[in-house]
Amino acid sequence: MGEYLLPLAGGVTIGVAVSLMLVLNGRVAGVSGILGGVLTNLFRKTRGDSAWRVLFLLGLFSGGLILRALNPDLLENDLDRSLPLLIVAGLLVGYGTSVGGGCTSGHGICGISRFSPRSILATLIFMVFGILTATVFRLITGGQ
């Protein structure tokens, strides 16, 4: 049971963050949407509402600095994915979340909490395809 307490505490912390974003700023804390909004403003050559978006992203990064200072293992990536694979994965995540209108936070937490049918379906689909991909990748590479 102990091994589930930290994930639960992490989840509760995320739930608090997402709720604070809504009650303070009236915004959905969907990370791909917040990042995509900055890109949209750049393409339109306007500053628009980029300030709070960039500050949110800087907060995510600063939280990473704190985690690294607390315990570097929390940010450890020992999966050994090749650079081409990381590039393909990044392109898929960027393109997919932009076209699909959300990621794990926007659809998976904020949308499901609203009982949005779009978000419930999107989350089911990306979970199923994540599971298929991770499983097939292990079978093909014979490793992790």
Partner: protein, 141 residues
């Protein structure tokens, strides 16, 4: 003030991700690999976040407006369409390949190591590609 709030929300969000294990791609892939040596612990991250926000969402939207803003910006789209499904499929594949979804990848930039930097740069390129296609009028979303 809304900017300061957004910064601290991002910071708390990142601490939750790190505490929960979402910033360790091996654990994410271990969670998604149901048929291997399955590590179910990350489902509790989702349970924890949903338990809080399902309740808080309903309580918060009873307000007329957020504390630092003039109105709530909440998605109202209801239709299930092709882009939603295609996007979720592609995102799921990318997530299963690298073990990063957008928020943990941005948080992991704090390590200044190659994997998250390459992943986030490619993620931005993928988003830019979708914006470009949309502006070119090839997709209807």
């Amino acid at each position: 003030m809304a900017g300061v709030a957004a910064f601290f929300v991002g910071l708390i969000f990142a601490l939750g991700l790190g505490l929960g294990g979402m910033t360790q791609p091996r654990r994410v892939v271990g969670f998604l690999d149901l048929f291997g040596d399955w590590d179910p612990s990350l489902i509790f991250v989702m349970f924890g976040a949903l338990a809080i926000h399902i309740v808080m969402y309903r309580w918060i939207v009873r307000r007329k407006a957020p504390i630092l803003g003039d109105r709530f910006h909440i998605p109202t789209k209801k239709t299930i369409d092709g882009p939603l499904i295609l996007g979720a499929v592609l995102f799921g594949i990318g997530w299963g390949l690298a073990g990063y979804c957008p928020a943990p990848a941005i948080t992991s930039l704090a390590t200044f190591s190659l994997a998250p930097v390459v992943f986030v740069a490619s993620l931005l390129a993928g988003m830019a590609l979708s914006h470009w296609r949309r502006n070119a009028g090839t997709t209807g979303s």
